[in-house]
Symmetry: C2
Subunit: 341 residues, 2 copies
């Protein structure tokens, strides 16, 4: 690493201690273990700390105590709308703890995932929370991690460590069966990234269609890209070109569904009369689109909250009642699919 600018004078624990004529460790204890310092002394210390603007040095603390009190959260795409709810849940659970959160982005890239996990680990984190694990090297790294690790995963992956899971395959089956029940027959699938959760959704769709004897690979259009409304438009146009008789579509994410909706409108298709659309995730806008989107709701806030909760318990060395918690999804019927006859 190249040289960086010098640090300005930092107020240390020792500085505070000297002024008060006591030892550094007592100041340290006053800050971290209030019970172990007499009340009057503690008040004086706190007051002086405030006056001198002392801020603990986390690097030193981490080096000496083996953890820095930070939870590292790793996500494939921080700006994915679906991550918002998870993030809120995590932050809610950690609000009144002494743990702080830091995020890192993997951009769905296994190499970046590996690098970021190493980066977190090399800072002595209190714990690590990750969504969308992809890389085997990372699993190996985490298996030997010196801190607790919690994953948010697809339940079918049989997570080995502590995890909060969703059954994406079953959810996709439910969505597809719903479209069938609405009377649609030529039901397409459009999807983005081929990550594990997306693959499960694809499987669920295929199972339901095969059961109905209606599966046709020509109805599946995917592209390995971050999902977006724009991608939804593109994939929908391709689907329409490939299979002009398609009469409904299951979209692997609500933003794809919104794109499909716009494109259907441009193509002059009436939704839901001529054409049914079912999304996934129940993102914020699903409830106010015109028509409103039928979709699968995944309890994202709860996923975040529960996973953070498991992590906090593991950090505090509590024994966990269950190491894998499965949460359930639900189908939300709205205006983008026909009422069931």
């Amino acid at each position: 690493m190249p040289p960086r600018r010098a640090r300005s004078e930092r107020v240390t624990l020792l500085d505070v201690a000297h002024v008060l004529g006591i030892s550094a460790i007592t100041v340290s204890r006053a800050l971290r273990e209030p019970g172990k310092v007499s009340e009057p002394l503690r008040a004086k210390i706190l007051c002086q700390v405030e006056r001198m603007g002392y801020v603990p040095d986390l690097a030193a603390r981490a080096l000496a105590s083996r953890h820095n009190g930070i939870i590292g959260v790793l996500a494939p795409a921080l700006t994915n709308h679906a991550f918002l709810g998870i993030m809120s849940g995590i932050e809610e659970r950690l609000r009144d703890t002494d743990l702080r959160i830091q995020y890192a982005n993997t951009n769905h890239d296994p190499d970046q995932e590996y690098r970021q996990v190493k980066l977190f680990l090399s800072q002595h984190p209190a714990g690590i929370l990750l969504t969308g694990l992809q890389d085997q090297r990372v699993s190996d790294l985490l298996a030997r991690a010196p801190c607790p690790v919690v994953q948010i995963v697809d339940i079918n992956l049989m997570p080995s460590g502590i995890a909060v899971g969703i059954n994406h395959r079953e959810a996709a089956e439910t969505a597809t069966r719903h479209l069938l029940a609405c009377g649609y027959h030529r039901i397409g699938l459009i999807g983005g990234s081929r990550d594990l959760r997306a693959q499960r959704r694809h499987e669920g769709y295929a199972v339901a269609m095969q059961e109905a004897g209606l599966y046709d690979p020509g109805l599946v259009v995917t592209e390995h890209k971050q999902t977006s409304v724009q991608l939804g438009c593109d994939l929908f146009k391709r689907l329409l070109a490939t299979a002009p008789d398609v009469d409904a579509v299951f979209c692997q994410n609500d933003d794809l569904a919104l794109g499909a909706l716009f494109e259907a409108q441009r193509a002059g298709l009436r939704v839901p009369e001529d054409f049914g659309i079912c999304g996934y995730n129940d993102l914020e806008f699903a409830t106010c689109a015109e028509p409103r989107l039928t979709t699968i709701r995944v309890p994202r806030f709860e996923m975040g909250y529960r996973s953070a909760d498991l992590l906090v318990r593991a950090i505090n060395d509590e024994c966990l009642p269950r190491r894998v918690v499965e949460l359930s999804f639900s189908l939300i019927q709205r205006g983008s699919t026909r009422p069931i006859a």
Copy 2:
């Protein structure tokens, strides 16, 4: 901080050095300053490092060298779509450097902003990048920060340090003038949070309307909330109730505009014939909505890239040609406003 689980045996620099019968500092140098170690020795070291699975301890490094090589990025809302482009720009610029990125969320809350900045600072970051600074205490803290700090701000705030800025007021004026030029007269404003950038946009709208002699406070509907499509629906309904003769709306963000569009469709208004909508930010979906959204494009990728670039230069102690870089916006005319006669 409560006790946390013990760390498993960590491989240290000294372990590697012992095995090779050399000193720790040489291993350290081989890793950080390749030029200062002979090639054959360096190869041996790197090989051994790999074999033993040595991972540098960032806490120790930070403590000894005064920075940990991490850029802390602070945002008011990581999951805001508008932040995506900025994030991409930052990551692109930092891709081939030895600097890594970590994000934190302030949730538009000055207290959280203050806490997070302190948290970053207490880890000896190489630099700090922040968007949407709100709190005076934070400014004070950063003025004395031991590392470079770059802000992404509104240009009218006359940023004192290093900054990349946008003139939000002028952008909003441009948007409003465009609606006027399209022949709309009763132009409303809907807006979310009252943060500084939002305030500038409000001002720009007011200036343009006053110039035209058409300003009416009854046409302004805002609510201090994170913007969303849903909020766009709500605010639009309120606007329509307050001022039934409104014939266009300038929305402070594209998600609000999308909500307004949906609600206008539900109200049976034809866009753009009966009603004009102009958004802000040119978010991903603006280009594919039906009709496509007229909006203000802000060079978010470039904002991220340039700000990260300034930061890297400052970290390397280069003198900067300009400490404040102003980037320009542009009006993107699409289908949600009438063609200019």
